[in-house]
């Protein structure tokens, strides 16, 4: 696969979240990070980010109702 899928209209921007921000997110929702929605380490959208299991990914979704929404997923192994 040579095409850059991050340019695709269906793929929102994925970024890795720093550890301090990760703690802040978890505290704001009163959860631990493993209770977040999941994303596989092998997911094509994050294959270039070089993440490991347990990292949190910030996803900037384009929403019809709210404009841009930040969503978080935790990386898990297959």
């Amino acid at each position: 696969m040579t095409a850059d899928i991050s340019k695709h209209a269906l793929v929102p921007k994925h970024t890795k979240v720093s550890d301090s921000e990760k703690d802040k997110i978890c505290a704001a929702h009163n959860i631990n990070s493993m209770q977040l929605p999941k994303i596989f380490k092998e997911d094509p959208a994050i294959s270039k980010l070089g993440v490991k299991a347990g990292d949190v990914i910030k996803i900037e979704r384009h929403s019809k109702t709210a404009g841009v929404v930040s969503f978080y997923r935790v990386v898990i192994d297959e």
Partner: protein
């Protein structure tokens, strides 16, 4: 253009209001508004926004189910529907909705919309040429006749010369394509035909017959899985609709616009573009059907379903094998489909049901943890 000050005030509400609401307020404010008035309007907007938010304990899933289910009864049950352009069938209506929500692996009508990059998308001829080049063309299509010569142990393949020319191919190209399948045979090509002879000692005639069957299905040209192509005009540009999908290979082609080319197969989107793209694809595909039927369902209901289907990092359908199998409670799972199977397995494994959700509490006649049933009372003992 609003004054910088007003914009600054509105930007100050970044964390409490979504961008769409902030933009709308900004657009409707008069440019001469005073600072205090702007602040007051923003505060009122925040109050109205918070009042409109869903309360904790609201049964959003049930509301979504009803909101999607009721208009669903009015959808057409027609599986096939002519979409207006030429002879391409597209599954719409209820069968398509079921296909998406059940996350079915094989679609009735897999379709790709292939958009092209700038210089390629304005001319019908270039689009036609491109469409022909991506269509999967098998060796069989060029063959007029296979003739097995039993005495000389040879297989002669007569080719359709006009068709070869049309596809810009020669006998050599065909031989190249089938080379790996024809090991152990010597291949000679002449004008309009190919002759296969077994190398060394002549073996059984069966081998030649097997060879024939093998080379028939060899792909000579195009991308695997693309059975039909249809160049059409969409707005100001030309695009290619394909029957059969191969998103991975098509995105690798340099002429193709990577940003807009999509497939209607959500499993393929998952494999190529990832779980977030699937969520968006589910929303888009369902919404497309609903709009085409002239129905009106709030997109938030579909978002909820799409979120539910993708929370685990992969795509799960709303079926007993998908999201329902993930439920923590045995009783809730048993209440959906195949109750006996779930109850027997739970008994075998000694599963414990903590009765934390709705269905199981309804079953045993207890208050459900929804609305006023959600909060518990804690007494401070002295």
């Amino acid at each position: 253009m609003k004054s910088d000050e007003t914009q600054k005030i509105i930007a100050g509400y970044k964390n409490v209001l979504p961008i769409s609401v902030r933009d709308e307020v900004e657009r409707s404010l008069p440019s001469t508004i005073s600072k205090s008035n702007a602040t007051q309007i923003m505060d009122e907007t925040v109050a109205a926004y918070n009042a409109a938010r869903i309360n904790a304990g609201e049964s959003v899933g049930l509301v979504s189910a009803e909101s999607i289910g009721e208009p669903g009864t009015q959808m057409t049950l027609n599986t096939f529907h002519f979409a207006g352009v030429a002879e391409m069938n597209i599954t719409t209506g209820l069968p398509r909705i079921i296909e998406i929500f059940d996350a079915q692996k094989t679609l009735k009508t897999p379709i790709m919309e292939v958009f092209m990059n700038k210089p390629h998308n304005t001319n019908m001829d270039t689009i036609k040429k491109f469409a022909a080049s991506i269509k999967e063309t098998l060796f069989d299509e060029f063959v007029v006749e296979f003739s097995l010569n039993i005495f000389e142990q040879t297989l002669k393949v007569t080719l359709h010369k006009d068709l070869l020319e049309e596809h810009d191919l020669t006998e050599k190209d065909l031989i190249k394509a089938i080379k790996t399948k024809a090991k152990g045979f010597s291949v000679e090509s002449s004008e309009g035909s190919i002759l296969f002879t077994q190398k060394g000692k002549a073996g059984e005639i069966k081998e030649l017959y097997n060879l024939k069957e093998k080379i028939r299905v060899v792909k000579v040209k195009g991308l695997k899985g693309i059975k039909q192509v249809l160049p059409v005009k969409r707005d100001e540009e030309y695009i290619v609709l394909t029957s059969g999908t191969n998103l991975k290979d098509i995105l690798d082609l340099p002429e193709v616009d990577v940003a807009r080319t999509t497939s209607n197969d959500i499993h393929e989107v998952y494999k190529v573009l990832g779980v977030e793209a699937v969520r968006q694809a589910i929303i888009n595909e369902v919404y497309k059907v609903i709009e085409a039927q002239g129905l009106n369902i709030d997109v938030r209901h579909i978002m909820l379903v799409a979120d539910l289907m993708t929370t685990n990092g992969n795509v799960k359908g709303i079926t007993r094998y998908g999201v329902v199998s993930e439920k923590a409670s045995v009783l809730a799972r048993a209440s959906f489909e195949t109750p006996i199977k779930h109850l027997i397995n739970a008994a075998l494994e000694g599963e414990i049901d903590n009765l934390t959700s709705v269905v199981e509490n309804v079953m045993i006649n207890q208050p459900v943890p929804l609305g006023t049933g959600l909060p518990g009372l804690v007494t401070k003992m002295k």
